[in-house]
Amino acid sequence: MAQGPLIDRHFLERLERLAIHWQKSFGGIVGGHNVSRFAGPGQEFLDHRHFHHGDDLRAVNWRAYMRLEKMFLKMFQIEPRVPVRLLLDTSASMAAPSEEKFASARRLAAALAYIGLVRLDTIVVHPFSNTLGDAKVCSGGRHRFGPVSDFLSALKPGGTTNFLAISKQFVERYSQRGLLIVISDFLTDAEETKPFDYLAEFGHELLLVQVYAEEDRIPPWDGELELQEAETGGRVEMNFDADARERYTAAFDDWSEELRRTALRHGGRYAAVSSAMPVEEAVFGPLVRVQGVR
């Protein structure tokens, strides 16, 4: 069946005014648009320090030497070019109860990739389920969006989610710190935020984007249900009523709050996006509100 484009042209034009934003300072070569606290070959003055052997004599503040007869070195802020890594959940849970959630996640990833390409950032898309999939690196401007869009369109949901294994693989494989955007429903059996703590402590800045279906938060069913988990195939029989629905929704909201606290604790950000929400509304709503893009 022929698929339409993930994002229409009108929306792409609106995205061009945005930029992916991060708060931490990361090292890197010059050429980015986010200011770093690391000194380097920048334009903005940062600080002075004592001269050490081997420092570049061109950076010595000769005026201060004439007055104080001590050699001080001028340091400048750099705007490093840091690759933005985008982890996209492709586990089977993203297709439950319908594929609408996965489609919404793909559209969101495409929108962020386009924003990054417009600002000449390097975007690396990492699909994952129980392991990290092959990454798609894209950079060089908006005209490179086509391959990313094709890559995202070709993704299929399947497999289980193991955030701990993924985080370990990621840290082992990629040593450069940077902004890490995780797009997932974060619906796993593991009730822990340890993988995200691990990634943050390694030095990454986290932007957790939770994409959920309305049925994930408020199940519409009543009566006797036989529940089948999408990833493991596990089954549970239960009576479900309004009270149970309230307990369920409360548990879901608790988990979302826990994710948000984890992100904030490490200087990151958290955004929740309903799959029923149009991607345009999701970008200019929750993502702008948490300053994931601005």
Binding site: S93, K101, D189, E224, Q228, M238
Partner: protein, 641 residues
């Protein structure tokens, strides 16, 4: 309290079936369903153990009971539950309004100011107004045919309008047919059979022997009192005298339908002028036929009037016939020996022969049919012409042989000139033999060839050439000779030989005498020129016409014209059985009216189903689910659950 549409057993059966379906759907709706979810993690926190291992079980009794109650209410609405006794239930009646010809007679009541039909309408309206409003009435006009003018109608305005619209027709009441129609209509189309009401019914076509033995128990008569006196014309006929061409024989048949003897004054008028008359003394039930001779060759209207003291039906007191003109064939005989031909042409009454010499015919060529005796006019023929023994060199048809003395041995039977001619001993002397060309038909043949030829060419007058003179030899003694001349003149001018008879009768079945027995070319056509179906049996043509007008029975030169303008007044007075109900019963108007409950039941049933959906339906998706999120409804739902 009773059900109008269903019996109790039918209701129970339908309700049982519907209940079974509802329970099955309920169990199916509440059965365990499999749902694919992203994770079981939060479900485990909200989990409540399954209460029972039995899967098909009723868990929401209020919901099921509410559904069953709603279904029962809807079924009762469909069954039309009514408050009151069954006798007050809606019934359907057939009202037969007698619109026969006799209904136009003035009645005895009210000093004869009202017609019988008006009185019957009044009684019918009173009956309809006395019926309960839920009863339905079908109005049928009954005369020769039973014609329904409404369906079973509960709208009294339409029923009364149909009754008022009734007009007396021209045919007689066919009571047996009307009764059968009403009985079948009630049995097939009525919700609950009511009464067959006959408004009228005085005289009927049906004899008592053909009436049903068992009259319907639900028959009611609304018949005005009395049987009005009437003397009227039954038949009026015109027949031309075969001997005297200008003489008509007028036949009038008058009947006394009443119970008293009457003296009837019969008057005949032609073109408004008196043409004859009679005084007829008629005993009760007597029919007298009288004949009046009237001489005229002109066309005109012949009117017959009957005047009787105490007559209350004027429809049959007058009859009018259109008298056709008597055709006359003008013939010019061009001969220098007129005495030779005069006896021959003087024998036909419709023929007016003028004898002229050859010189006169040459000087002034004759118009119309002409006979040329042994000569041929030079200027051609101006009308149909008969040439007797023309000169061989002037004959319009080539002569191949002359002076032939032979016998005629063959007649061309397919040609009208030889109709009825079989003679083989026509001995000719000095005859001419012709060669036939285009448009020529040889009629009589000798061994040498055609001696009598007929020519018929489009755009030219008909021509007959005889190669012999029938009156100059011993042929004048042959019996076939006048017949041959008659055939020739009939072929020239068939209208002059058409025998027209005119009759006035009544609509309905008509029996016309037709003595010829020959049916080839026989047609029965009405005023519009449409053919009517007919049968011929025992020398009689029978046909049926339900409309007034003129019907012609035509065959070749014979024509009978029937002016069907007289009303058909049956001879028999119908005496209804004693046990038949009569008049408007007061109990009908006093019946208590039953009250319909079905609108309320239907509304309650619908409300019950809506409440069930609101309180017990599984939370659906989309907008239906959002309605359930309303605080009050949500609280109600949770309480009911």
């Amino acid at each position: 309290m009773h059900l109008l549409n269903l019996s109790l057993a039918e209701f129970a059966a339908v309700f049982s079936a519907a209940s079974a379906v509802v329970v099955a759907l309920y169990l199916l709706d509440r059965s365990r369903r499999t749902v694919l979810v992203a994770t079981l993690r939060f479900w485990n926190e909200a989990r409540r153990p399954v209460e029972s291992a039995q899967r098909r079980r009723i868990r929401q009794w209020p919901s099921l009971l509410l559904q069953l109650l709603s279904i029962a209410l809807l079924l009762l609405a469909i069954s039309q539950l009514r408050w009151g006794s069954r006798e007050t239930g809606a019934r359907d009646h057939v009202l037969l309004l007698d619109t026969s010809a006799w209904a136009a007679a003035r009645g005895i009541a009210d000093g004869g100011t009202q017609s019988l039909l008006d009185q019957a309408k009044g009684m019918a309206l009173a009956y309809v107004r006395a019926l309960p409003p839920v009863d339905r009435v079908m109005v049928v006009y009954a005369d020769g045919l039973a014609t329904p003018v409404t369906a079973f109608e509960s709208d009294r305005r339409k029923v009364e309008e149909a009754i008022r619209r009734g007009r007396a027709g021209a045919s007689a009441l066919n009571l047996a047919q009307a009764m059968e129609f009403a009985r079948r209509t009630l049995s097939r189309h009525a919700r609950s059979a009511g009464e067959i009401v006959l408004a009228g019914g005085w005289r009927t076509l049906t004899s008592e022997a053909s009436m049903p033995v068992e009259w319907p128990a639900n028959l009611r008569l609304l018949t005005p009192r009395g049987n009005p006196e009437n003397v009227g014309i039954r038949k009026l006929g015109l027949r031309p005298s075969p001997e005297d061409p200008g003489l008509w024989k007028v036949l009038v048949s008058v009947r006394n339908y009443g119970a008293r003897p009457h003296s009837a004054e019969l008057t005949l008028l032609f073109g408004g002028s008196p043409a004859g008359g009679r005084i007829l003394e008629l005993a009760p039930g007597q029919e007298a036929e009288t004949a009046v001779n009237y001489r005229t060759r002109a066309a005109g209207m012949l009117e017959a009037r009957v005047r009787t003291r105490g007559d209350r039906f004027s429809g049959d007191d007058r009859a009018v016939l259109e008298m056709p003109a008597q055709p006359e064939l003008k013939l010019t005989v061009c001969s220098d020996e007129p005495e030779l031909l005069r006896p021959l042409f003087g024998s036909l009454p419709m023929l007016m022969a003028t004898m002229r010499t050859r010189a006169q015919c040459v000087a002034q060529p004759p118009e119309g049919v002409a006979v040329y005796d042994r000569f041929v006019p030079r200027g051609g023929f101006r009308g149909p012409s008969l040439l007797l023994e023309p000169p061989a060199d002037q004959s319009p048809i080539a002569v191949v042989k002359s002076g032939v003395t032979e016998r005629i041995d063959r007649w061309e039977q397919r040609h009208p000139l030889s109709t009825g001619l079989r003679a083989q001993d026509f001995r000719l002397s000095q005859a001419l033999v012709f060669r036939t060309g285009a448009g020529d038909t040889g009629v009589a043949f000798t061994a040498s060839g055609a001696v009598l030829v007929a020519r018929e060419v489009a755009g030219q007058p008909k021509l007959v050439v005889a190669g012999f003179h029938p009156l100059r030899s011993h042929l004048k003694f042959e019996l076939a000779t006048p017949l041959l001349f008659a055939n020739i003149l009939r072929w020239f001018s068939p209208e002059a030989f058409r025998r027209t008879e005119v009759f006035a009768g009544s609509v309905g079945a008509v029996t016309a005498p037709w003595q010829t027995g020959e049916t080839n070319g026989l047609r029965v056509i009405n005023e519009s020129g449409d053919a009517l179906p007919f049968t011929v049996r025992d020398g009689q043509v029978r046909f049926y016409s339900a409309q007034t007008g003129t019907v012609r029975v035509v065959q070749n030169e014979r024509e009978q014209t029937y002016s069907l303008a007289l009303p058909d007044v049956p001879e028999a007075v119908w005496m209804p059985p004693e046990k038949v109900k009569r008049g408007v019963p007061p109990s009908v108007s006093g019946l208590a009216q039953a009250r319909d409950l079905w609108p309320w039941l239907a509304a309650l049933g619908a409300l019950g189903l809506f409440l069930d959906w609101l309180l017990f339906a599984p939370a659906g998706s989309g907008r239906v689910g959002s309605l359930r999120q309303m605080p009050l409804l949500n609280r109600l739902h949770r309480r009911a659950s």
